[in-house]
């Protein structure tokens, strides 16, 4: 443990004064089309050693509240009401130079993307030492000692050797630990962590949460943890505030709010969050036993040996990555097969081979017994469709919604004549619970959830049998996610659709899928019915995955 030179946090703990208190904070953005109030009348305290979770959906004002505390609101936004007190002293009206001195010294920050928080050109040790020496009166050698201690505390193995590495030499999770060590370097009283684990895989996420929590306990620092993920809050925070449209909806102990939410908004929010302990799905129309899609010994290699010229001159010795390595599974007609795995596990590559976007290196994908890359290619275009992760990128921004949905109909020649096509589009829009008038608008006029409905309507327009859904809800807020999943379920039962659901979110897979396969580094390590894999996992990797998922069922 590193010896502490100044202990403002400990003193504050003795006097029981909140480290930070926010009083009636209001943030306004005077925009062209009138004033936008991002934060309205928000008040809370954080005591020393306490982790306060701030949750809310996108646009709830949670990040803006964090930015307001550290004085980093982007213009034209500004604080128009209320005050922020740090250890009893008002800081929201300090001049920018004074505020800058506070950042890093008394308030540490951890952001979502560890790459942007570290300077790629400097060794991590230099960055930590610089921060320590800027704020604390210690020598170079002492600072380096401290830096090594901090890195060890943050969970970096053999920090004596790693301290002279550059940021790119660390993995994402390790980098976030370095950022945490950097945030703690000057012994701040308050740490603001904005989505600190959202860019990380679940197994890494769990470790980072533990590190953050342990360090706050041992140092008595207060933490404001901003996240959209209620599971992370459930595992980390002591108290939480729920925000919606810039206002605080509910405040209380984490366990109380998750188990007994009082406000309507919170009740709906909690209800919309899927859990890995949810009951498994019961189909209105039970799935058949016959397989519609069969994947046999699928392999995909990527040649990473660089450009053509490089390859010509280097000769051999190219680097080949097995993105998908001998994967076999089959999907029953009318059922949902969930494919889970962390980033780089090959799940998206698998999906792209199954819809005809990238050819497999070897192995086959059979639809109704025909290989979609050979005899079944023409049939595949009609029977197989895909729903993508990002509804902002999957719809052409220059096309009207009607043309987007009609594209498969026109490309495949399924209907002719304007009125017939328009009739079909209107029918499809109704099926995804959108107004038929939507066909004359452009995608940017819709919210994320509505756009995903449009993408679903497009996928349905060729009357497919098999739809590959690649992370269909991970870009959406939880309440919208619940609606989209619900729609997908209903459409499946209505049309007898077969789904391949790819997700990193185990809880979503649990509530949607009948069977599930677990991918790790391109290999299928375990598969079977959902309840069997989730409740009695056989493979070690599956067990690790399930135990590290932050889930609302894990609240104390």
């Amino acid at each position: 443990m590193v010896e502490t030179l100044v202990k403002p946090a400990a003193e504050a703990a003795a006097t029981k004064r909140p480290v930070v208190s926010v009083r009636n904070l209001t943030v306004d953005f005077p925009l062209r089309r009138g004033n936008f109030r991002a934060v309205e009348d928000v008040s809370f305290d954080i005591m020393p050693g306490e982790v306060l979770g701030v949750v809310g959906e996108s646009g709830a004002g949670k990040s803006m509240t964090g930015s307001a505390i550290i004085g980093l609101i982007e213009p034209p936004g500004r604080i128009t009401g209320g005050e922020v007190l740090l250890d009893g002293r008002r800081i929201d009206n300090l001049p920018p130079e004074e505020m800058q001195k506070l950042r890093g010294k008394r308030i540490g920050m951890v952001f979502q993307d560890p790459l942007t928080s570290l300077n790629p050109l400097y060794r991590i040790g230099d960055q930590i030492v610089e921060t320590i020496r800027r704020h604390l009166p210690v020598s170079e050698a002492e600072a380096r000692e401290r830096a090594i201690g901090l890195l060890r505390e943050a969970g970096i193995p053999s920090p004596e050797d790693r301290i002279d590495s550059y940021p790119h030499q660390f993995s994402g999770g390790m980098r976030q630990r370095v950022v945490i060590a950097l945030a703690l370097a000057a012994e701040p009283e308050l740490i603001i962590a904005d989505e600190p684990t959202s860019a990380l895989d679940v197994s890494v996420q769990a470790q980072i949460i533990k590190v953050l929590k342990r360090l706050c306990e041992s140092r008595g620092a207060a933490v404001m943890l901003i996240t959209h993920d209620m599971g992370v809050i459930a595992e980390t925070a002591d108290r939480m505030i729920v925000m919606n449209k810039g206002r605080i909806v509910e405040t209380g102990k984490v366990g109380d709010i998750i188990k007994r939410p009082k406000q309507d908004y919170t009740i709906r929010l909690i209800k919309a969050i899927p859990s890995i302990t949810d009951p498994i799905r019961v189909h209105a129309a039970p799935a058949e036993q016959k397989a519609l899609v069969e994947v046999k010994h699928l392999v995909r290699d990527f040649d990473l040996s660089g450009s053509l010229l490089d390859r010509l001159f280097r000769r051999g010795g190219g680097k080949i990555v097995h993105a998908v390595d001998d994967v076999s599974f089959s999907i029953r007609k009318g059922s949902t097969y969930g494919l889970v795995g962390e980033s780089g596990s090959g799940k998206s590559t698998c999906a792209r081979m199954m819809v005809g976007l990238i050819p497999p290196t070897s192995g086959e994908v059979l639809l109704d017994g025909k290989d979609i890359w050979q005899a079944g290619a023409a049939e595949r275009r009609r029977k197989v469709q895909m729903i993508f992760q990002d509804p902002y990128a999957s719809l052409n921004p220059r096309w009207r919604v009607g043309d987007i949905i009609a594209e498969p109909i026109k490309a495949l020649g399924l209907a002719s004549g304007r009125s017939e096509i328009e009739g079909r589009v209107a029918d499809l829009l109704e099926r995804v619970r959108l107004d038929a008038a939507a066909m004359r608008k452009f995608p940017h006029e819709f919210s994320g959830g509505q756009r995903q409905r449009i993408a679903i309507a497009r996928a349905l327009s060729s009357q497919p049998e098999f739809i590959v859904c690649d992370e269909p809800t991970s870009a959406l807020d939880v309440s919208v996610q619940a609606q989209v999943l619900d729609l997908m379920k209903r459409l499946q039962d209505e049309f007898g659709l077969t789904y391949l659901l790819i997700s990193h979110n185990l809880a979503v897979v649990r509530t949607m899928a009948d069977d599930v396969g677990v991918l790790n580094k391109g290999r299928l390590v375990e598969q079977g019915p959902v309840d069997q894999v989730f409740d009695a996992p056989k493979d070690e990797y599956t067990r690790m995955l399930l135990s590290s998922v932050p889930d609302i069922s894990k609240v104390d």
Partner: protein, 317 residues
Amino acid sequence: MSADTTRPAAPVAAKGALARFLDSDIWFSFKRSPVTIVAATVAAVLILSALLAPLISPYDPFNPATLNLMDGFTKPFSESMFGNYFVFGSDNQGRDVLSTILYGSRISIFVGLMATLFAMVIGISLGLSAGYVGGVYDSVVMRIADIQLSFPAILIALLIFGVARGIIPPSQHESMAVWVLIIAIGLANWAQFARTVRGATMVERQKDYVAAARIMGVNPLRILLGHVLPNVMGPVLVIATINLALAIIEEATLSYLGVGVPPTQPSLGTLIRIGQQFLFSGEWWILFFPAVTLVLLALSVNLLGDWLRDALNPRLR
């Protein structure tokens, strides 16, 4: 109904096209930039007056019957001995400088527009296909563009112009001059477009809406023209505007060097070439007014291009 579907879409949808334009961010940023408003006004006046030259020019400078050599070298804002009034003076043959400028800008603007359009068509088709196909084809096209960009554009235009004159029979030289000029300037400028379009295409190609079209078996040409092209047109528009100013200057340079349009249909460059012969003998206006027009035209179009680049760049908004 669910909360998500009841959320109202932007109210803009109900209005007409004009109302939508008046409400757009582009118009807003236009209104807020006085420099752009002045540039747009100047450009509009110059282009309109060039278009309407036959209607508004006080004299017909190319009709020998109306010319009088004795009117030559009349000073600006003064009347000649025959009672003809010349706003910008007259040249050695007694032609009204204002009228020659009006007719001259007509040719300059026409050559500039056509050359830019030509460069745009070549650049867009090569850039789109290179960016989408990739591989060896992409490397070859882009290396050619690199090589070409390492020469000054005017040099390439001169070269093409020279080659074209060698191919075309001398009797056709005069009548074909304008088209040769357009092709020469166009070929000298395609690389800029190709580079930009290729980069933008490579970004768009990765997007999921292209993947969705590929899954349903839309053919690549349709994907390129229907999906990718509309999404790469933003930066192309900016380059085209800036390129228009460049092409006008290049045409003037070529005509100034004597390889451009023939003196019988003078462009601004030809007028400057004629005018500079008299600069040192005191007849400054024959050079001065065409030169000022060229500067105003190029500058205003360039300023419009700069504004458009900023207005279309979301990061600078």
